[in-house]
């Protein structure tokens, strides 16, 4: 169970990630730091932290969004739920597994955003929906590659450090 201090720490860390993502001009615009954090936490075995990050991160992302409130949060929640169902069937511990998980997770997340953008549009909650054109496909591939690379490097690094710490 998460303690209050850890919870506040996580809240502040996610807040920093969102501010960094929105306001630092040098940051790659396709990358979603909250999504990467959620995936890394989940793959590293901190699933309760990952679920909490989904809610807080989704909320922060929704605050700075032109889309109606809930799009990013619901997309993240559904992505993690689907990802959880799929990952349970496999024992992911290798580098290849992390890379494949990163690619798969990124694809699921983008499909969810697309689905909810259309759902909100048809329910008249939003005036915008994501258009499926050549720019979207390019963006999707770029997002998957970037996210998978970051998830792979961070999760693998974390696992190696954890293993070494156990040996010592």
């Amino acid at each position: 169970m998460l303690s209050a201090v850890k919870f506040i720490g996580l809240l502040f860390f996610i807040f920093l990630l969102v501010v960094l993502q929105t306001s630092w001009p040098l940051f790659p615009r396709q990358l979603s730091l909250v999504f990467i954090l959620v995936m890394v936490l989940f793959l590293a075995g901190f699933s309760s932290w990952a679920w909490l990050s989904v809610i807080i991160g989704g909320l922060f992302l929704d605050l700075y969004s032109i889309f109606p409130p809930g799009l990013f949060c619901l997309s993240l929640v559904c992505s993690l739920a689907i990802f959880n169902k799929i990952v349970r069937k496999f024992n992911i511990t290798s580098g290849k597994g992390f890379l494949a998980s990163g690619l798969g997770g990124a694809l699921i997340y983008k499909i969810n955003i697309l689905f909810f953008s259309y759902l909100f549009y048809f329910l008249k909650f939003s005036n915008y929906y994501i258009i499926l054109n050549k720019f979207y496909w390019f963006d999707l591939i770029w997002f998957m590659v970037l996210s998978a690379s970051f998830i792979f490097v961070i999760t693998l690094g974390f696992k190696i450090i954890k293993r070494k710490a156990h040996l010592i």
Binding site: L16, S23, P25, R29, L59, F60, Y64, I66, Y128, Y136
Partner: protein
């Protein structure tokens, strides 16, 4: 099961308190200084060969204030000349999602900003338009955005010195270039012509400078010609003006 239920209730309460009771303002007030600081990082480069750290920081701060002062002066000059009513706003950040670009500014509904208004830089060139407004922040859709479409005109004078107006629709592409589409083939356009807003949109007056024609694409069997426009608005903006409707 109990844990899941508590978690669900927590998330629901959090969302209701923030989005229905406008609790987001607390978050915006807290995050604004951080965002301003981060957004300025790209522009304020420090000379790496400076020796004294304190002087370097002081110098950077002074440079930053000077640049901001100049920008504000230019904004005021432009607005006095054009007699537009305007609101100055700081850019807090930019976001991108699946082809959608939006710029976040620190002025919102409580300052009089409403959707559809034009946003210009210090020289009066169009940056984009307001697409969505919160109580204390607003979102701008930049000209370069794929979903941006603004009606525009090019005014030329013929041999008899009579004005000829060429109309079309301005749209962004690749987030890099701006195109003027649906321009009839028989309309005469020259490289270097200035493109202005036509005033067809509610909230965007006629005559705001958009850019300059840099390329003309004419295909043999097409009905329309396509113009590549170089937007005259600055790329690395910090401060923008939201033009208010005259009435």
């Amino acid at each position: 099961m109990k844990k899941v239920f508590i978690f669900f209730i927590f998330a629901l309460l959090l969302y209701l308190s923030i989005f229905l009771l406008h609790g987001e303002n607390i978050f915006f007030v807290f995050s604004e200084p951080w965002q301003k600081f981060l957004y300025r990082q790209k522009q304020d480069s420090i000379d790496q060969y400076d020796i004294c750290e304190d002087l370097k920081i002081e110098n950077m701060k002074l440079k930053s204030y000077r640049a901001e002062n100049e920008t504000l002066k230019q904004h005021l000059n432009f607005s006095t000349e054009s007699q537009d009513k305007f609101i100055l706003a700081n850019i807090l950040g930019r976001r991108y999602e699946s082809g959608f670009n939006w710029i976040i500014i620190n002025k919102g509904k409580k300052d009089g900003v409403s959707p559809g208004l034009a946003v210009v830089d210090q020289k009066g060139s169009l940056v984009g338009s307001i697409i969505s407004v919160e109580n204390s922040i607003s979102y701008i859709r930049p000209l370069l955005d794929l979903h941006s479409s603004i009606t525009a005109d090019i005014i030329n004078f013929n041999d008899k010195n009579e004005p000829e107006i060429t109309s079309g629709i301005i749209q962004g592409e690749y987030n890099l270039i701006v195109k003027m589409k649906y321009v009839p083939l028989n309309q005469k356009v020259e490289l270097g012509d200035i493109v202005i807003t036509s005033g067809m949109e509610e909230g965007i007056r006629r005559g705001i400078i958009i850019g300059q024609v840099t390329e003309i694409n004419k295909k043999p069997n097409a009905i329309f010609q396509e113009l590549i426009i170089n937007p005259l608005a600055e790329r690395n903006l910090r401060i923008v003006s939201v033009l208010l409707p005259v009435n």
